[in-house]
């Protein structure tokens, strides 16, 4: 009977697929539109200021303050300090993305490493590491980053440190649970029986298997990190002015919000679109890689 049960249940798979009435093109759109948006945002923030004729984001002339959009040389106008809003938007985005990418890389490498090793080694090491992560996870992320940011003082580097502090345990947990599942797989046992050293098993067998899941999580993490970085900067504990970031632009604009609401709207919209793109990319990658 096992023979019959083991036969590829094609109808079952067909049924499972049909319960989600999704066209192929919709799946395509859901993956590639956010991916395209992310590429576009990265390109315009990192290359835009180099390629396009854009004023400097800082050191604006007070005489040129509060210019309306489409004034000469200032496509989106200037803020109350006379700085070009578009330029600040792009440089601010660059800062946000740098922080986001660095934090997530740190989270992926260190958190992923800790999680995978913890699960692979198991035993008391695993228990200790997990208890340690429990402590880190207990902190509400903003509170922990506020405390760290205050101790280290506001700067881009310290913002990255502070944010990495809560990014690591989240990734580590996911890496750990995936590795635990992998450890039971026959091919892992086969690799162990073949006498592969542990680091080789981690690199050759575990990493490629948990990688996709971690990367899709990191895409979702980008959104969280960018929003939290904005919050830190908004509270004056992130990227220190006059260097632009979306968070401190929103804070600056808030002061004169009733008079010039657009100064808040531009960075807010940029933040929204960026976070939305990363969230959707993460979602679709997760859907794709979890075989759904």
């Amino acid at each position: 009977m096992a023979v019959i049960d083991a036969s590829s249940a094609q109808l079952e798979t067909a049924l499972a697929a049909t319960t989600r009435p999704r066209g192929r093109w919709r799946v395509w759109v859901r993956t590639w539109v956010p991916a395209g948006m992310v590429v576009f945002i990265l390109a315009i923030c990192f290359l835009g200021p180099v390629v396009l004729p854009i004023a400097k984001p800082t050191g604006g002339d007070v005489l040129e303050s509060g210019l309306s959009p489409f004034s000469s040389g200032h496509l989106l106008g200037t803020d109350s300090n006379g700085n070009d809003i578009l330029s600040r938007l792009l440089y601010g985005g660059r800062a946000s993305l740098e922080v986001g990418i660095t934090v997530n890389l740190i989270g992926l490498v260190i958190g992923g490493g800790i999680g995978a090793i913890s699960a692979y080694v198991g035993g008391i090491v695993d228990t200790l590491i997990m208890r340690g992560l429990d402590v880190l996870i207990a902190f509400p992320s903003l509170v922990l980053t506020l405390a760290v940011a205050q101790s280290l003082g506001p700067s881009k580097r310290n913002t990255i440190f502070a944010l990495a502090f809560f990014s690591i345990p989240a990734v580590a947990r996911i890496a750990r649970s995936s590795t635990l599942r992998l450890r039971e797989m026959p091919f892992m046992q086969a690799a162990q029986l073949c006498g592969s050293p542990w680091w080789r098993i981690l690199l050759r067998h575990i990493t490629p298997n948990i990688g996709p899941q971690l990367i899709s999580f990191a895409a979702l993490g980008m959104g969280i990190v960018i929003v939290t970085e904005g919050a830190l900067s908004f509270l004056g504990l992130g990227i220190p002015p006059p260097a632009p970031s979306w968070g401190n632009m929103i804070f600056d604009g808030q002061q004169s919000m009733s008079a010039t609401p657009m100064e808040v709207v531009w960075p807010s919209v940029a933040l929204l679109i960026t976070v939305l793109s990363f969230n959707q990319l993460g979602e679709s990658l997760r859907a794709r890689w979890s075989g759904r």
């Binding site: 009977m1 023979v3 019959i4 049960d5 036969s7 590829s8 249940a9 094609q10 109808l11 079952e12 067909a14 049924l15 697929a17 049909t18 319960t19 009435p21 999704r22 066209g23 192929r24």
Partner: protein, 392 residues
């Protein structure tokens, strides 16, 4: 029953519309145990077709299925996973996802007083479900709601079709639990599914199915997830209930041996079509369809030499989105020849024995069913040991 509109009942002798152009009469296996042979069928399925469409791809799950079930009898539908056995019965219940298209006809009830199950709206089907047709699912662990007491789940089924007050519904539920021989029914009423053993859970599932006094009970692999001992107890219970309540039962399984022991008639499905259809005795006396033989061959038997390799059905089940012309079993069939490129129709080659094959085998089954009287003894023995206490 006021919802049952009597549709045109005089269409029974209309020509069969199935593509193979078989004779006008619908397959009807010869009854072996006399007495009820005169009885009219309670379910008449003709030319049932189910397709699923997704992203421009069409999966042909059931392709012109016809059969009949008489009250108080059991029909076994046998096949591999993906043969359409489960889909074809879910279609009768209206339990398929919205991507499914069902055509053909399935009439429930005696001619003249029958209702069409195919093509009804969800709202109409809801009134029939549980009341006229009920279903028991494969895995009793997953098919009971883990967060509701079993009593509440049965009461819910009772109240779905009858306007009873709380107390009366409760009493009826306990009655049903006793009917399915659940030990300590009153106490179990207040327990959650996880506190029961697998066999007990399946008894509760049967009680739920019986709540609306169904005329037809579909047991979809109802014993597959159970251990062999419990499997036998549940099958005995089903057979007993079927006789006592005069229900018709369709039992879906991939286990030909199980069908041999309990069902009166067997229908073997392959790639969404019936390929062999006969009374159990006829079928096991000489199997004609090579696929049926192969199915039987895949079951280990006591007579098989120890440590010998089990025969397997070679090859893959057919791709239901691109069915081959001709016989669907051809690529895996030992008897296949050139003329199998034309699909053999399901025809009554011997009285009461229908099969769809140009080059039939003739095999007397080694695990032939025990004679009828012996089977009765077995059942009597089983009913003496009704407790499920042994399983945990």
């Amino acid at each position: 029953m006021n919802v049952h509109e009597t549709l045109d009942g005089a269409t029974l002798d209309r020509p069969d519309r199935s593509a193979v152009g078989m004779p006008g009469d619908r397959p009807r296996a010869r009854r072996t145990n006399g007495g009820s042979s005169a009885e009219e069928p309670i379910l008449t399925v003709s030319d049932l077709r189910v397709t699923f469409s997704r992203a421009g791809r069409t999966v042909y799950a059931v392709n012109g299925l016809s059969y009949e079930v008489r009250p108080g009898s059991m029909l076994a539908i046998i096949g591999e996973s993906g043969s359409g056995k489960s889909v074809s019965t879910r279609a009768l219940m209206g339990l398929l996802p919205p991507s499914a298209t069902v055509t053909g006809s399935a009439r429930l009830g005696r001619p003249g007083d029958d209702i069409e199950l195919v093509g009804r709206s969800e709202k109409e089907m809801r009134k029939l479900r549980g009341c006229d047709v009920a279903m028991v699912f494969q895995d009793p662990t997953r098919s009971l709601n883990p967060t509701m007491k079993i009593g509440a789940q049965i009461v819910e089924a009772i109240k779905a079709h009858r306007d009873l007050d709380k107390r009366a519904a409760r009493e009826r539920a306990v009655e049903l639990l006793k009917l399915v021989r659940l030990p300590a029914a009153e106490r179990r009423f207040h327990e959650y599914p996880h506190q029961l053993s697998g066999g007990m859970r399946q008894r509760v599932m049967i009680a739920i199915a019986l709540a609306g006094d169904p005329r037809l009970l579909i047991a979809d692999e109802a014993t597959t997830a159970l251990d062999v001992t419990t499997q036998a107890q549940i099958m005995e219970l089903l057979v007993d209930l079927q006789k006592r309540l005069g229900m018709a039962v369709i039992m879906i399984s991939h286990d030909l041996g199980l069908a041999a022991s309990y069902a009166e008639e067997v229908l073997v499905m392959y790639a969404g079509r019936a390929v062999e259809y006969a009374s159990t005795t006829d079928l096991f006396a000489h199997m004609r369809m090579p696929y049926t033989c192969a199915l039987l061959g895949a079951i280990p038997q006591l007579s098989t030499q120890a440590h010998s390799q089990l025969p397997v059905i070679g090859g893959q089940p057919p791709d239901l989105s691109a069915l081959p012309t001709g016989c669907a079993f051809r690529p895996r069939c030992a008897n296949a020849a050139d003329d199998c490129a034309e699909r053999p129709p399901l025809a009554e080659h011997e009285p009461g024995h229908w099969f769809a094959c140009w080059h039939p085998a003739d095999r007397r089954a080694a695990v032939a069913t025990p004679p009828a009287d012996q089977r009765a003894d077995q059942r009597a023995a089983a009913t003496d040991h009704r407790t499920d206490g042994g399983e945990a």
